[in-house]
């Protein structure tokens, strides 16, 4: 008998539950009503990586093509193509040959340290941040691009140099302005 009375008493919890959901029905919604509203904490989101520009030239990355990021990335999603060393002209060649003949140290023309291409496959990236940690010149950072969408996987293969330039254009910053 006591069991049945207890069961009847337990029915009170059902009423309590109704009051709680009813109370919430009365209250305003808590969801972010995208696209009418947007979330505010995008700044702390560490999204797809981006190249950081040189302080004086917003279209040029700080990258010195040391390849640390490429070798560190666990997913192998970064590809950096170096510039080839410029071919010495005929005169330079001759000058070099003469210098060599004189037994001097020959300064061969060096390849520019800036990257020719900086490709990034976002579809492979796991956003661990190791690339940005190992970068000696702090050239890799995270973007807070949460709204990136694409239809094809190939669209996630990003050319970071182009994106850097596009960003500079978007922000209307040019070399001259900064200088």
């Amino acid at each position: 008998m006591r069991k049945y009375i207890q069961q009847l008493k337990d029915l009170k919890s059902l009423i309590v539950g109704l009051f709680i959901t009813g109370d919430n029905l009365r209250k305003s919604t808590v969801t972010v009503h995208y696209p009418r509203q947007e979330v505010h904490n995008l700044a702390s989101f560490r999204g797809p990586i981006e190249l950081l520009p040189k302080p004086k030239n917003p279209t040029q990355p700080r990258c010195i093509t040391c390849m640390m990021c490429v070798s560190t990335c666990p997913s192998g999603c970064i590809t950096v193509v170096k510039h080839k060393a410029p071919k010495p002209s005929a005169e330079e060649k001759q000058a070099m040959a003469e210098a060599e003949a004189r037994g001097e140290k020959v300064a061969k023309p060096k390849a520019p340290k800036t990257p020719k291409q900086f490709l990034y496959d976002y579809s492979l990236c796991s956003l661990c941040g190791l690339c940005s940690e190992v970068c000696p010149v702090n050239s890799i950072g995270f973007s807070s691009d949460v709204y990136m969408v694409c239809r094809r996987r190939s669209e996630l293969k990003l050319d970071l140099l182009a994106r850097l330039k596009a960003k500079a254009d978007r922000e209307g910053r040019t070399v001259d302005e900064v200088a």
Partner: protein, 325 residues
């Protein structure tokens, strides 16, 4: 023969059938919208919002989507039963609306045994669930159908007894008469005389319409989707519509039996009926979004150990009191 067809009564029934179809479809859409909006706001989110003003057109678009979807028969299914089930489920809901007195004049067909007709036809929905469960050639559907049978059979008894108690007090099985015998103010309603019968009726109605917390035949976390696991497109849509139509029927019957029907303190009319009916529907929706689901043996225990004895006692007490007074 011709004079039968041309008789006003027959014409009235035909007209009523068409009107009922329209009513079910319209109310189905309203209910779907209402359910989703209430669920949304209970969960602190806006619910459908994008199609039309505050998502008003969402149910219509959903219906369009369901109609546009491909219908296919699963491998090894019994074609006849499989396709008959949703049709049966929907078609047999229509007669249920015929004796319901929405307003003083707004009754499709007043009949002396209106309640009996509703009780008789409401059992056929179960047949549809059985056909769907067996015809689908799916084990989940079969389990869902088996649950539906046990649940429906069990809960029909206290439902019947609760209605009988009201029939005893008002002395009629005609729904229109039952309404007329009640007054406009809440204390003149049958619920004041029969609160326990109303409670039992409402719980049984939840179980009969497979609404949470008694939605075991389609318990999605246990049986994926129960009896309609294999259905797609409008075949599923018909089940869906029939479920909502059944909800409307049980709430309409409750309104007529217990809540004074179209009678109100002021301006008696169909609007009072609809308002009371939707209040009950709102309660059903509210319950669904609050409670977990009961287990199957508990469901039957509630019926056999609580509702049945209570409704029997209630009926006997009612009979005694009507005899004495």
């Amino acid at each position: 023969m011709l004079d039968v067809i041309l008789s006003p009564q027959f014409m009235r029934i035909v007209l009523a059938a068409v009107a009922v179809m329209a009513f079910i479809a319209a109310n189905g859409l309203v209910l779907v919208y209402m359910e989703r909006k209430i669920a949304g706001h209970i969960q602190r989110r806006p619910g459908p919002f994008e199609v039309g003003w505050h998502g008003l057109l969402q149910p219509i678009v959903d219906a369009g989507k369901l109609i546009g979807k491909q219908l296919f028969t699963p491998d090894g299914a019994d074609g006849l039963l499989y396709w008959l089930a949703p049709v049966v489920s929907f078609v047999w809901v229509l007669p249920l609306f015929i004796p319901i007195p929405f307003g003083p004049q707004l009754t499709a067909f007043e009949m002396d045994l209106g309640i009996v007709l509703i009780l008789a036809f409401s059992g056929t929905n179960l047949l549809a669930l059985c056909m769907a469960g067996w015809g689908s050639n799916n084990k989940w559907s079969l389990l869902g159908a088996a649950r539906a049978v046990a649940q429906s059979v069990a809960y029909e008894i206290p439902l019947l007894l609760a209605i009988l108690a009201v029939a005893f007090t008002s002395g009629t099985l005609d729904l229109s008469n039952t309404v007329k015998l009640q007054g406009g103010w809440p204390w003149q309603w049958n619920i004041a005389l029969q609160p326990l019968a109303f409670l039992i009726y409402f719980i049984c109605a939840l179980a009969e319409t497979n609404r949470a917390p008694f939605d075991l035949p389609e318990a999605e976390s246990e049986l994926t989707a129960g009896f309609h696991t294999e259905y797609s497109g409008m075949a599923f849509g018909l089940f869906f519509l029939a479920e909502y139509a059944n909800m409307i029927v049980v709430c309409a019957v409750a309104t007529a039996l217990f809540l004074g029907g179209w009678q109100g303190p002021v301006f008696s009319g169909v609007w009072w009926f609809l308002a009371k009916m939707y209040a009950l529907l709102f309660l059903m929706i509210w319950l669904r979004w609050t409670y977990p689901r009961v287990r199957f043996d508990q469901l039957l225990n509630i019926n056999w150990k609580w509702l049945l004895p209570l409704s029997l006692a209630n009926l006997m007490l009612t009979a005694l009191l009507t005899k004495v007074f």
